[in-house]
Symmetry: C2
Subunit: 174 residues, 2 copies
DNA sequence: TGACATGGCTAACGTCGTTAGCCAACGTAG
DNA sequence: CTACGTTGGCTAACGACGTTAGCCATGTCA
């Protein structure tokens, strides 16, 4: 439903994503983004309707990248669930601020490219078989990543065992 | 590390928690809290050092309530894991904004009453046996709750099956 | 009675997203 | 070649935010 982005708008989105990833969510301000671009904050509104549209565009770029990574990791893998988990963890830990922005809020589905949500979910669907198990596995992986990112897990070296226990539990067929 | 709260400070925290739960995180402003109390925002600083301290106090009250609920639900339950999951889901869905505040960020451990974190985690520990499985189960439950709260799951009536699949997977001993 | 702590208040600062309105550069139609 | 509209900058400013400084009424207590 959103207008397609102009070349300049895509430049701005790329810079904004860089600011978010390098400097964190508190630095993702219109003034900071403009500063990196060498312009003033109000000029951004010539290219994008506002901050929310900017965040939506960043989220979309994140999902496109994640979907491609998940597909590449699971395609033809002997252990697709383990491969998916590895790619998911790598993405979340490689882009923690982006991952938070992507998952913190309801998806802006009206502005998402058609099929992107399904495409991102498909590799896990294929790896687990049933939709119910796919969702349970997704929840486990998302939960583990967030517990790691929010520093909730005791640092006693058992985190890896928890990952393995979860993967094993999700993998067993009943 | 934080000073104990005065009576007035505890009143303010209670009002602030009410504002958060009823009106959402965007309404949790110093001016709004003061308005509900019938005073002006700067007066709040006579009782609390700042907004962060207020949020920490709200988080603590949430954890105390959650810990009590988890203990009550699992104490002597025939199926402790299912009982824990029920209490956890009920808490999160009954206080969604509070739950987000409690889990969005690293725990302010320096300001937490001693033992509160462990007390909150203990019922699940007891329900699952091994620490690794407890963490995996925690991740699954936390992930499911967040996927529900952020409206990520398809609304096709399979969410309950996903919960059951996850609980069953976490329950099986290897 | 006087000193001091308590807990209100107003005014203001800097930051945020955002809007209004101005203007230089540029492409293009007449 | 000139006139005009579009593009994409700019400054100034608004209201909301957290927060600080500083004033003052009230109440307690030596």
């Amino acid at each position: 439903m959103a207008d397609p982005l102009s070349v300049r708008a895509r430049e701005i989105v790329a810079v904004a994503r860089g600011v978010l990833e390098r400097e964190g969510p508190d630095a993702l301000t219109m003034r900071r983004i403009a500063e990196v671009l060498g312009i003033r904050a109000p000029s951004l509104y010539k290219h994008l309707p506002g901050k929310e549209a900017l965040e939506v565009a960043i989220v979309i770029s994140g999902f496109e990248e994640a979907a491609a990574a998940f597909e590449a990791a699971t395609d033809g893998a002997p252990e697709p669930l383990a491969a998916f988990v590895g790619a998911y963890r790598a993405f979340a830990h490689g882009h923690p601020h982006l991952y938070r922005l992507m998952t913190d809020r309801p998806l802006p589905r009206a502005d998402l490219p058609p099929g992107l949500e399904e495409r991102t979910a498909a590799p896990l669907q294929r790896a687990t078989g049933s939709p119910a198990r796919a969702r349970a596995a997704w929840a486990f992986i998302h939960g583990m990543v967030l517990l790691e990112l929010t520093d909730r897990l005791p640092k006693d070296g058992m985190t890896e065992q928890a990952w393995q226990a979860g993967i094993a539990a999700m993998q067993r067929q009943e």
